[in-house]
Amino acid sequence: MAESIPAHDAHAHPAHHPHAEPSFWSKYVFSTDHKMIAMQYMFTGMAMALIGGFMAYAFRMQLAFPGIDVPGYGTVTAGDYNALVTNHGTIMIFWVAMPVLIAAFGNFLIPLMIGCDDMVFPKINRLSYQIFLLSAVVLIVSFFVPGGGFGGAWTAYPPLSAKGQYNLTSLGSSLWLVAVALEFVAFLLGGINFVTTAMNSRAPGMKVFDIPLVVWMIVVASILFMASVGPLIAGAIMLFMDQNIGTAFFDPDKGGDPVLWQHLFWFFGHPEVYVVLLPAMGITAEIICVFARKKMFAYKTFLYTTFGTGVLSFTVWAHHQFVAGIDPRMANIFTVTTLLISIPIAEMCFIYIATLYGASIRLTTPMLWALAFVAEFLIGGVTGIFLGASGADIYFHDTYFVLAHFHYTFFPIAIIGTFAGFTFWFPKMFGKMMNETLGKIHFWGTIIPFNFTFIPLFFLGAYGDHRRIYNYQHFPELAGEQYQDLRILATVSLLVMLSFQLVFFYNCFISWRKKEKDAGKNPWRANTLEWTAESPPPHGNWPELPKVYRGPYEYSVPGREQDFYPQNVPS
C-alpha cells in the first residue's frame, strides 16, 4: 500500500498551536470539531431510528394481529395507531435520514475530502447540532404530554392538524410543529456551513471537477433544502398560529384555504426527497468506484444530471395533490414534469451500471450495500411512474401502493445508504475494521426480509388497502384471509429484519472494542483525500494540509503499478 506523501505546501503551518488535553466536556459534548459533531449527529440519528423502528414494529403488529397486546408496547388503540404512523414517518425523514445522510456524513466527509482542517464556521456547526438535539428532545417530549403525540400524519394537513377538537392532541401537535421548525433551523445553519466550506476551503489544486461526488451531492442537497424549506417555515408559523392563537390561515370558514398548506408543504416536501436521495447516491458512487477499481463512468454527466434533477424537483410537487381538488390543468402539467424527472434519476443509475461494466468487482460489505441501493431504488423509482400519472393516481393515491413505492425509495436512501456509508467509512472513523462475515450476514438478513415486507404491500395497495387504517377487519372487502395473510407476511418479515439488526450492533460493538487499530490509513486502497489522514483523523486532520494533483477516481490507470492513484500524490 503506497504511503501517502505528505503534501508540501509553502503556505502550510501547524493547524493549531499545541494545547492541553481537552476535558471530557469540550472534547465530546461541546466540541467544534467537525468529526465529533458528525458522530453526535450519527448517534442521535441512529437512536432516533431505533425509536422510529420500534413504532413500525408496534403498528405492524397491530395490522397483522388486530387487537393484540403488542409485546413491549401494549394494545394499540386507534389513536395510538395514528400517533405511531405519524411519528414513524416524521422521525425517519427528519430525525434519521437527514441527520445521518447529510449532517453526519457531510460533517465528517466534507472537510476531509476537500483537504481542509474543519468547517469554516465551527461554532455555528456546534450550534446547529445543539438546535437539532433540542428539536429531537421536543419531539420526544410530545409523546408524553396529555393527549399524546400528534396523530395527523407527517403531512399534517389542516383542518385536522389545526384544530385540537379534531386531532385530540392539541399540545402534542404544537410540540411536533415546534420540533420540526427547530430541525429546519438547524439544517439551514448546517447547510450554509457546507456550501461555503465546499466552495472556499478546497485544497490547492482541487478544481471543481476534482471534488468527490459525495461532497457535490451533499452540497447540492443542502442547496435544495435551503431553497425549498422557506415556504414550509412560513406555513409552519401559520399552522402554529391556527393551532394556538385562533387565526384562520387554513380555515375556509373564515377566509383561509387548507389547500394552501398542502402547496406550502409539498413545495418543500418534494425537493426534500431529493435532498435525502442525493447524499445516498453520492455514497453509492464513492463505494462503487473504489470496489470496482474503475473511474466513474461519466462524472460530469452525473453532476449535470444532478443539477437538472435539482431544478426539476421544484416543478413536480403537486403530484402529491392530484386528488385534493387541484385544477385538472395543473394536474396535467405536474404529471408531465413528474414523469420527466424519472429520466435524470434513471440516467444516474445507468451511469452506476456503466461504471460496473467490465470492472474488477470486489464484493465487500459496503459494495453489497451500494449494489443493493441501486437495485432496490430502481424498483422504487419504477413504481413511482404509476403514481406520477394523475389518472392512475386517482386509484392509487392513499393506498399501500404509495406506501410501498416510497419505502422502496426511502429505505434504500435512509437505511441501505447509511449502512453502505457506515461500513465503508467505519475504518476511517474508528481506526478498526468491521467484521466482514458479520457484515454480510447483516446485509442479507436485512435485504431479503425488506423485500418480503414491502412487495406484499404493492399487492395490498392494488387490491384497495387504504393507508392509515388501524384495523382492516372493519372493512369486509379487505378483511379476507388472503389479504390478512399478506399483512402477516409483511409483519413477520419486518420482525426478521429487525432481529438481524442485532448482528449489526454486535459487529459495531466488537469492532469498536478491538484493542488494536488494525485499519491503517487506507484499508480500501482508495484515492480520495480522507484516506491519507490517520484513522481516526486527529484534530486538524493533517499535520500539513494536502495538495491535489488529479481527480478522485483515477483507478486502474494504464501503465501504473498500482490500481489506484491517490489525489495527493504528485505526478
Binding site: C116, G191, T196, I237, F249, G255, G256
Partner: protein, 189 residues
C-alpha cells in the same frame, strides 16, 4: 482556533460574505412563501381592501423612511470600515440600531392602537397575515439590531471590520422586505 484552509474564494466572494448571501437567499424563500400566500389571498378577496383601509399609511410610511435612513447609515458605516475607521463605522452602526429601535417603537404604538380598536390577529384573515408578516419582519429587525450591536462593539476597537459590511447586507435585506411589505399591507386598499 479558526480553520486555515480558506485559501480560495470560488465565486470570487470571501467566505463570510458568501455565507451572508446564503442567509439572505434562504430568508427570501421564507418571506417569499409567506408573502406569496398573502398575495394570492389578497387578489382572491378584493373586499380585504375594507379591512386594509384601517392600516395607518402615515405610520407605515414613516417607518419606511426610518428603515431607508437606517440603511443609509449602515452603508455609511461600511464606507467607514473600508477606510479603516472602526470608531466611525461603529457610530454609524449605532445610528442604524437607533433606527431599528424607532421602527419597533412606532410599530408597538401602531399595533396597540389597532388592537385597542378591535383589529386583532384573529379579527379576519387579512389581519392574521398583517400581524404575522409584519411580526416576522419585526423579529428580523430585532435580531439584526442585536447582532449589529455586537459587530459595532468589536468594530469600535478596529477589529473584524469586514463584519460591518456583512451585517449591513443583512440589514439592507430587512429593509427591502419592508419596502415590499409597505405597499402590500398599507397601500393596497
Amino acid at each position: 482556533m479558526r480553520p486555515i484552509a480558506t485559501t480560495r474564494a470560488a465565486a470570487g466572494i470571501p467566505t463570510g460574505r458568501l455565507a451572508v448571501w446564503w442567509v439572505v437567499a434562504s430568508e427570501i424563500v421564507i418571506f417569499g412563501g409567506l408573502l406569496v400566500s398573502y398575495i394570492m389571498h389578497r387578489i382572491a378577496n378584493p373586499d380585504w381592501g375594507y379591512q386594509a383601509a384601517y392600516t395607518n399609511v402615515w405610520l407605515g410610511g414613516f417607518n419606511t423612511f426610518v428603515l431607508l435612513t437606517s440603511s443609509l447609515s449602515a452603508v455609511l458605516g461600511h464606507k467607514a470600515a473600508v477606510a479603516g475607521d472602526g470608531p466611525r463605522a461603529a457610530k454609524m452602526l449605532y445610528a442604524t440600531c437607533l433606527g431599528a429601535v424607532t421602527f419597533i417603537a412606532v410599530k408597538a404604538f401602531e399595533w396597540t392602537a389597532e388592537i385597542t380598536h378591535g383589529y386583532t390577529i384573529t379579527s379576519s384573515t387579512f389581519w392574521s397575515f398583517y400581524y404575522t408578516a409584519a411580526g416576522l419582519h419585526a423579529l428580523h429587525v430585532i435580531a439584526g439590531a442585536v447582532i449589529m450591536l455586537f459587530v459595532a462593539a468589536t468594530a469600535k476597537r478596529n477589529l473584524e471590520l469586514h463584519r460591518v459590511e456583512l451585517i449591513g447586507i443583512y440589514w439592507h435585506f430587512v429593509d427591502i422586505v419592508w419596502i415590499f411589505l409597505f405597499p402590500l399591507l398599507y397601500i393596497a386598499k
